[in-house]
Symmetry: C2
């Protein structure tokens, strides 16, 4: 049997980093003595909640849009997303001066819908239970001649998200540090496949570990079985950003080669991590954004004595959800 | 008339920076296209809420403790503070392995009291209306042989806080940017006197501007009159960290030479700035920490077309206060 074709290489990520320079925030590497003591490890935090649009998604969106051929690009883009990819595509399209249509679930956090519209995108609503969002998006693309930008199954998106991993590797190398483990929130796998490509090229001994919500642990199960497994539920996690149905067609072969083992996290630990980020790191995180920190703080992985990187992937949280976390 | 003696020079700040290296966070310089658009200026944010202990205060405390002579240092330190200096001194003392006693107002935010105790300090309570906190602290110092660490009127503290300004100047110089204005929250003036010393040495054209709560604008009035003015109120601002009675004896001559004009900010604008920091910057700020951002967002200063630095000095906020800001 042939090796599955690899959608991206490290060179694609370096090319993406050049395209993104000056258009995105090079988020800092943070650490916290309180966190280190709490988990018995040396922890570095990559706070993508501080990124433009409040999540890493603008990296992939900007890179993908830059790769659309001239002429076609002017017809615009269409995307489907529960919110962070929506905002990333909408804002990247605004900066590129092209129209964007975003297909969003009707129960997406209000803040994410509002911000998507603020960037000038048209928002089309769908129901998670009944509608096929990809079919809706493809219909719009066919009708308008616009380009569909997948939230994860797109080499341009994957390479753009991979710049998170490139920055982690560069910053740790500058500190003379090699991580034992890099913990990454996973839904469709765009972020992890990109990060793992960059990290494994530079620091091959590091474990790149997907972290998912309980009940949406398709990637964790897929990495065990060796094939793309599907979640039965469509709703039910507080981590609204991490409820994709299965790993991506392009992202899974990359993750299967470079990432494991997966960790599944219950909502209760996610709330605790959001409260920790609030009180101890002074960072606003959304549930999906805090899930890797939740796995770490919840003791779901034995990290004693390790050097660990935790990606906080986003901060677009409704106040009511954060307040619930602070009360938990 | 003689020039008033200057408590610190830029060399003191450089020496402080060497002492602090590896003991504090070199906080990043952030920016936000949303903020830039909102105020019509190019804004750089110095988020000291991301600092150890949640505010810049650990810089001055660490530097001041390092300067206490050996032998004396072992007898410990005593400080009075509504909270951030308390936490800074308590944690700096813990790291230095010496005892600390902190005199705190009975209405200090619970979170600040709790964290001060967490660092191992003994907390002594007083009433803002009736008690003289400095007299209480001096009594403890006399009794125990410990050293009083002023929240601002101490050259070691001032130089330590000045490292914020040194980092701002270095980071902007690396970007090839000269700021028109640096906006700094002010209570006793330790932070501003330090920052202004570092900034004016390197970027003499920059305006270094104190920002204070309405009703506690003693520094603003003192800079106009040329002498240290006193506030009549002792309580009444949401900015619990910024309610000192008058500018410091050592800090005022420095501010009078290097900083002006002052700005006074009503609570309502502070709440709005905290909400903005939450939603747009994904940063947790406390009222006093957000006050310079509040002056900027509230349009209290004409910054059209300028390059502006805003210091977010702290993030130790009780959830109830942040929730109130998010509802405002």
């Amino acid at each position: 049997m042939d090796e599955p074709q690899v959608a991206i290489t490290d060179a694609d990520i370096e090319a993406a980093a050049s395209r993104l320079m000056g258009r995105i925030v090079r988020t800092p590497m943070m650490s916290s003595t309180v966190l280190d003591s709490a988990v018995g490890a040396r922890v570095y935090i990559k706070p993508e909640c501080l990124q433009r649009t409040g999540s890493f998604k603008i990296r992939g969106a900007t890179n993908a849009i830059a790769r659309i051929p001239d002429g076609t690009r002017q017809r615009g883009v269409v995307a489907c997303s529960s919110g962070n990819h929506a905002q990333g595509v909408a804002e990247a399209a605004r900066v590129a001066g092209i129209p964007a249509t975003i297909v969003m679930p009707h129960d997406a956090p209000a803040i994410k819908v509002e911000r998507t519209k603020r960037s000038g995108a048209k928002v089309v609503s769908y129901h998670r239970e009944n509608d096929d969002r990809v079919a809706i998006a493809n219909g719009i693309a066919a009708e308008t001649g616009s380009t569909f930008v997948s939230p994860y199954d797109d080499p341009g998106v994957m390479a753009g998200q991979g710049t998170v991993g490139l920055e982690i590797a560069e910053d740790l190398a500058a500190l003379g540090v090699t991580p034992d483990r890099v913990m990454v929130p996973v839904s469709g796998g765009g972020l992890l496949s990109g990060i793992a490509t960059a990290i494994k090229t530079r620091m091959p001994t590091a474990i790149c570990q997907p972290v998912e919500p309980e009940g949406f642990d398709d990637t964790t199960r897929s990495l065990v079985s060796g094939q793309r497994e599907t979640n039965t539920a469509r709703t039910g996690s507080i981590a609204d950003a991490l409820m994709s149905q299965q790993p991506g067609e392009l992202t899974f072969p990359v993750m299967a080669r470079l990432a494991k083992p997966g960790v599944a996290v219950p909502d209760e630990l996610i709330y605790r991590a959001m409260a920790f980020a609030f009180h101890e790191l002074k960072l606003v995180t959304e549930p999906g954004g805090a899930i890797a920190l939740a796995a770490l703080l919840g003791g779901l992985v034995d990290v004693e004595g390790e050097t660990v990187v935790v990606v906080l992937s986003g901060g677009n949280v409704d106040p009511a959800t954060l307040i619930r976390a602070l009360d938990a």
